[in-house]
Amino acid sequence: MTEAVAIDCAYLRRCLLEMLAIPSPTGFTSEISRYVCGELARLQIEYRLTRRGTIVARIPGRAGGVARAVANHLDTIGAVVTSLKSNGRMGIAPVGTWSSRFAEGGRVTVFTRDAAYRGQVLPLLASGHAFNQQIDLLPVAWEQVEVRLNESCDDAEGLQALDIRSGDFVAFDADPELEENGFVTARHLDNKAGAAALLAALAHISQRPEAPVLDILAIFTVTEEIGTGASASLSAEVVELVGIDIGPVAPGQNARETGVTLCAQDTSGPFDVRMLRHLKSLCREHGIAYQVDLFRHYYSDANSAVKAGHDVRDALITFGTDGTHGYERTHLSSLESIAGLLCAYAFSQPTDVLARRAS
C-alpha cells in the first residue's frame, strides 16, 4: 500500500467555514468566486475566470497538451422573491430543485440592489396559538410559504419602500455546527464541503516537489444547481473529468458519511466504467475507505459537460451526507478522504491510452 496522503485538515476546515459564511445561491455567486480566487492566489495557483464567473485553475503537469479536470460547484440552492404581498411579506420560488419543507424556518438574507435585509421563511399559517391543527393540514409547497422580514413593513408599499423587487435573491443561512467528533451540520454542505476538500487537495498538490502527471484543471462552476455547470468551461485538452459533489445517505443507499462514496450511475446514466475502476484501485492503494453507490434523483456537472458534447471520461466522487438539500450532515473524515483521493488521482497514470502515451 502506498502511504496515505497528508492533507492539511485545519486548512480544509477553515475554508469550509469561511465559504459557508458567504451567501451564493445560483445566479448570485460573484462573492464566492472572489473568495476562491483569493485562496488560489494565496496558493500561487494560476487561474482564469470565464465571463460568468466559472473559475478554471491550472496546476501544470509533467506533460502538456492533455489535461485532467476536476469540477466542483460553488453555487447553492436558495430562492428568489416572486411577489410582494399585501401583508408585507414576500412569496418566493426555489432556486435549484428542493422542497419547501426544508425552507420552513430557514433564516434568510434578502438582497436588494443596495441593501440586505434579514428575515425568515414561514408557512402561511405560522402561529400555533392562532391556527392550532390547521397548521398540520397545510400542504408542503412553495406557494404555502412566505418570507417575514425583520423590518417594520405591513403591506406591499412597505416592501417597495425597502426597494424589494420580484427577482431579488434570497440566501439561506448555513448555520454550521462542527462537533469535536468530526460531524459537520449545515445547509449548503452541497457543495461548499466539496469546494473545501478541493482547495485542500490543490494546496497539497501544488506544494509537492514533483508536478502531477498531466495538467490538473480545477473548475469551480457556478450554475450546477440548474444543470449547466460545466457546459462551457472545458477545453479540448481535457480527457478526464472528475466531479466532486454531495452523496445522499439514506435507507436503500450505499453511501456513508465516512470515506469516499463513488457514484457509478446517476439520473443521467452510468459514469465511465474505466474511471470508476481506476478510482477504486487508487482508494485501495492509498488506504482510503470507499463505497460505490447509484443516485436516482441526481444530476451533476459531469452530465452538463457530456450533454454539451465534450467527449470526456467522466466520474463522480462524493462525500456521503445525510439529509441532502435539507439539513445536511457529513463527517470531516469524508472530506479528508475526498481530498486524499484527488491527490492520489493527480499523481496516477491516466486511464486513457493516448493520454498515457503523452505523459
Binding site: V239, G252, Q253, N254, L262, A264, Q265, S268, G269, P270, F271, D272, V273, L276, R277, Q291, V292, D293, L294, R296, N303, V306, K307, A308, G309, H310, D311, V312, R313, D352, L354
Partner: protein, 394 residues
C-alpha cells in the same frame, strides 16, 4: 446488392455482444473489425464513438448517418443480506419488462449469470402475493446463479455495487421475416447501416457528398453525440427503432419518418427531402410524430451543432421489451439510405453562416387564406422582406 441474409447475420452477431450503455467497448471493437474488413476508413473518439467516412463524389456540405449501438441494461444498486441484489435501470425502461430476463453480470474480473425476478418479501412463497408486488425498480431483484446466500458470499465473488448487467437478447428469426429479440433497439438499425456500407463498398458506388457514419454509444441516456459531429456536416439522419401501432395496415414493411419527437420538430426541409426521395424510389413510408421518443439527433442539437436533423425508423413493436421488427422494414431502411446518400443535398450551399437570400422559405405568402380584420400577412412579408429571384424553394 443489399443482402437480407448478410444483414440478418450481422444483426445476430451484434445481438450476441452485450452492450448496455456505458459498457460498449466490445461492440465497438466488433464494428471496428467489420469496418476494417470492408475497407472503410474510420476514427474513434476517446470514449469509443466510431466515425467512418465514405468519401463523396463532389465537395460540398457533408452528411452524417447516425446509429447507436448501446442498449438499455441495468446496474447493481445494493447487495442485500440474503445475497440477492437490487438493481437500477440503465436508460429509461419499465421494470415490467425486466422480470424474467436472463442476464449476465460483469464484475471487474468475471462474468456471472443471473435472472431478474419480482421482489417478494423474503420468506414469503413466490406463489402467493406476487400479484400484489408493485411494478417498479424497487421491486425487482437479481438472483445470481451461484451458491450465494449472504452479502459476504456476493462480495467473495467480486461483485460490487456499480457492476453492469446485460440482458440476453434471445433472438428468433422467422421464415416470414419477423425478428424477435431484446436489444433490437438499435442493433437492427446498426445492422441495416452496416449492410449499406458493405453494399456501397462492393458496388464502388460513391455518395454524392462526403458521408460520415457515426456509431454512437450513449444514445440510451440522451448524450449520444460525444464530440463526433464535424463542422462540415450539414445534414444528420438518425436511424432508430420506433414502435408502430398494430392497427395500421401492414406496418412492418414500412419506414417511419419522424417529423418530430419529445425534443421538438426535426428539420422541415431535410424531412421533406427524405419524403420526396422515398416516394420517388417507391419505398413505403409513413410520416409520424413520435410522442415519447428521443434520439441522437436531439442530442446533436443540445450539444450545440447547428445541423439539419431527421429520424428514420424501422418498424418495431414493444420497444425496450421483447422487441420485434421485420427484415423488410430494415431492408427498406438500407435502400432508402442508399438513395439518400446518393441524392443531391437538401441545400447545396448549406454553410454555417448564410446570406439572407439563401435562407429557405417554408410557405408562400399567396398560399394563405385571407382573414378579415387581421393584418395581411402576405403584404407584411412582401413589404419587409420581399422574395428575390435568388431565393430558394424546396
Amino acid at each position: 446488392m443489399i443482402d437480407a441474409k448478410r444483414m440478418t447475420d450481422s444483426l445476430l452477431e451484434l445481438l450476441s455482444i452485450p452492450s448496455p450503455c456505458g459498457f460498449t467497448d466490445e461492440v465497438v471493437h466488433y464494428l471496428s473489425g467489420q469496418l476494417s474488413r470492408i475497407g472503410v476508413e474510420f476514427q474513434l473518439t476517446r470514449r469509443g464513438t466510431i466515425r467512418a467516412r465514405l468519401p463523396g463524389a463532389d465537395p460540398g456540405p457533408a452528411r452524417a448517418l447516425v446509429t447507436h449501438v448501446d442498449t438499455v441494461g441495468a446496474m447493481v444498486r445494493l447487495v442485500r443480506d440474503d445475497g440477492r441484489m437490487m438493481v437500477a435501470p440503465i436508460g429509461h425502461w419499465s421494470s415490467r419488462f425486466a422480470e424474467g430476463a436472463r442476464v449476465t453480470i460483469f464484475s471487474e474480473t468475471r462474468a456471472h449469470r443471473g435472472c431478474l425476478l419480482p421482489c417478494v418479501e423474503w420468506g414469503v412463497s413466490r406463489d402467493h402475493g406476487v400479484e400484489a408486488v408493485p411494478l417498479d425498480w424497487d421491486h425487482v431483484e437479481l438472483r445470481l446463479e451461484d451458491a450465494v446466500f449472504s452479502a459476504e458470499d456476493v462480495a467473495k465473488l467480486g461483485i460490487e455495487v456499480g457492476d453492469f448487467i446485460a440482458l440476453d437478447s434471445n433472438p428468433e428469426v422467422l421464415d416470414n421475416g419477423y425478428v424477435v429479440a431484446r436489444n433490437l433497439d438499435n442493433k437492427a438499425g446498426t445492422a441495416a447501416v452496416l449492410e449499406l456500407i458493405r453494399h456501397l463498398s462492393e458496388t464502388k458506388e460513391k455518395p454524392s457528398h462526403d458521408t460520415y457514419v457515426i456509431f454512437t454509444i450513449t444514445e440510451t441516456i440522451g448524450a449520444g453525440m460525444g464530440g463526433a459531429v464535424l463542422p462540415e456536416v450539414s445534414e444528420l439522419v438518425t436511424v432508430d427503432f420506433a414502435s408502430v401501432r398494430s392497427e395500421e395496415k401492414s406496418p412492418f414493411k414500412r419506414v417511419t419518418l419522424a417529423s418530430g419527437d419529445a425534443s421538438g420538430p426535426y428539420d422541415f426541409h431535410l424531412t421533406a427531402h427524405l419524403r420526396k426521395i422515398a416516394e420517388r424510389a417507391g419505398i413505403p413510408m409513413l410520416q409520424k410524430h413520435l410522442k415519447a421518443f428521443h434520439s441522437d439527433a436531439a442530442a446533436a442539437l443540445v450539444a450545440g451543432h447547428d445541423v439539419r436533423t431527421a429520424v428514420l425508423a424501422y418498424a418495431g413493436d414493444a420497444s425496450h421489451s421483447v422487441e420485434r421488427t421485420h427484415i423488410d422494414s430494415l431492408m427498406n431502411i438500407a435502400r432508402l439510405l442508399e438513395v439518400y446518400v446518393t441524392s443531391e443535398p437538401t441545400f447545396s450551399e448549406d454553410a454555417p453562416v448564410i446570406p439572407v437570400e439563401h435562407l429557405s422559405h417554408q410557405f408562400r405568402s399567396d398560399q394563405l387564406p385571407q382573414v378579415s380584420e387581421a393584418p395581411n400577412t402576405a403584404s407584411v412579408i412582401s413589404a419587409g422582406n420581399g422574395r428575390s429571384e435568388n431565393d430558394r424553394d424546396d
